[in-house]
Symmetry: C2
Subunit: 305 residues, 2 copies
């Protein structure tokens, strides 16, 4: 699966993914009004508003980008109705030829991780039939429980040609609280990185492994070290744009071949029309603002590669 992602990155010349993390407050008034008109101020109404919002953004950006990363929490907050739109968004993006990274940060004891794995990136057995619950191409995974909590995801990657991004060093302000603590002189995230390499060793797919890592754009010095520690691990890099990471900060996430990382931006793209810079589009043309923001982001990143 990482090979497919790389091919799409090379084709679009855009090592980016658009984070489809819609807060209802990002959805322009006219879309919310139309959805509430149809379904009332209900969970169905919220879900419909988010779906219309997503669809327009995807329609206006899919030809420019290799992939999207829907954050499942933003759908889960609306319960079942929200999750239906998560699935609908995943399916729609795949129809449009996009690679879909499900940002779910799941992780549990072995038997439980196995259930998450079949539900999100594999298939579940029901009598003599098999079904895919959510069917994303990649999934983000939390490593706190260690190897037996991650291994079932890796197994499903191998059997279904899918990929993972395991949290190594996250982009949030307090990520260092545990992740940066020194163990035998080295921060925890380096120990996790070594395990990610080990977990991914048997999942090579071309030059890179299907087992990737999440490495935040907001800690550039650390990404330099992690790049060296994990030469064949693809990085999913959150934190660019709204969270404060700049293109300069991203340099070290890439290998010398210009590959090795895919940079996510969520709010900076999907709510671009709310920024001073893209104000001229107006809420009616929010998706055109997103398209311009993608073009600008790609140019910004390619400038440092």
């Amino acid at each position: 699966m990482i090979r497919q992602l790389i091919e799409k990155i090379q084709k679009t010349k855009a090592p980016v993914c658009v984070g489809l993390d819609p807060m209802l407050s990002y959805v322009p008034e006219h879309i919310q009004a139309a959805a509430f008109e149809q379904y009332g101020e209900t969970l169905e109404g919220a879900a419909e508003a988010i779906w219309q919002f997503n669809r327009e953004i995807v329609d206006h950006t899919f030809d420019l980008i290799p992939s999207v990363k829907p954050q499942i929490a933003m759908y889960e907050q609306f319960g079942i109705e929200g999750l239906k739109v998560y699935k609908r968004t995943v399916d729609y993006c795949k129809e449009k030829g996009l690679i879909v990274i499900g940002d779910a940060k799941r992780g549990d004891i072995g038997s439980t991780s196995a259930a998450y794995a079949v539900g999100h990136i594999g298939s579940v057995q029901v009598g003599s039939k098999t079904y895919s619950g959510f069917d994303t191409d990649f999934l983000t995974v939390n490593p706190y429980l260690g190897t037996d909590g991650v291994k079932p995801f890796v197994d499903v990657c191998n059997s279904h040609d899918r990929g993972l991004f395991v949290l190594v060093k996250t982009s949030n302000p307090s990520s260092g609280e545990f992740q940066d603590r020194l163990i035998d002189g080295r921060p925890l995230y380096e120990w996790v990185a070594e395990k990610v390499v080990e977990w991914g060793d048997a999942s090579m797919d071309g030059d890179y492994s299907n087992v990737g890592a999440v490495v935040g754009a907001t800690y550039p010095e650390m990404s330099r070290i992690l790049r060296n520690l994990m030469p064949r691990t693809y990085f999913l890099v959150p934190g660019y744009g709204a969270q404060g990471g700049t293109a300069e900060d991203l340099k070290h996430c890439f290998n010398k071949d210009g590959l090795g990382a895919i940079v996510n931006s969520s709010r900076g793209i999907i709510a671009a029309y709310k920024q001073e810079k893209y104000k001229q589009f107006g809420p009616e043309h929010f998706a055109e603002a997103s398209r311009q923001a993608v073009i600008d982001m790609v140019a910004d990143i390619n400038r440092v590669l």
Copy 2:
């Protein structure tokens, strides 16, 4: 919320929760057949089988126990249809007067954790209305991202009188891989424990905090230390029974007042009819086997208290 849980534990004299973690393979043949007859071998069929299985177990045990802990992964593996049954199970258990611990192990950057928190233990705003997506009483939370990833859950606990159990030391075989690593001479799980105490300081609800901890039954020496480190933190203790933890192993999880811990058993209760010990019930009477297994578990634990 922890006060309500304690009252129910005292009333039932049962510091236990039943883990509603149904694998389809646990569901007796006759229930699967009836569900597949109605819906075919589909995700709806699997979900219906699990719902009927859960309902019977709850009907046969709710008077003996204070709480249940549905593991959301076991539902999520069947996609939307599975998650509908997760919700239905949560709602049904609450109608029966049970306290529901949603075992979801969520955790992300701040804004994303906030979305999970409103979806699972709080309420989400839609225009002028508010709705609860899943509406469990407690939620399990993963601490790898640090304070700003946990704080939004704590905030919702405080505003909605709900509770958390934050992963500290998990019950699985490789939990020590990162959790036991020494940082300034003390294992990571102790540092997490100290943070859990800090996070819970402003969430006291009677003698205990609404911010609890997950501490596996399978590491008794560690639970003794954690009990001392976290005197006012309630422990959710997985790993008893099928995972290998014994009643003796649990002793240290409790305070001298006999409170401080609630012990989960999943497979050992819900699939009791498959054990040699309860074989006489047979698959037709699986829920009576579960009832007997609850009675035996409660006696076993009370023996060491």
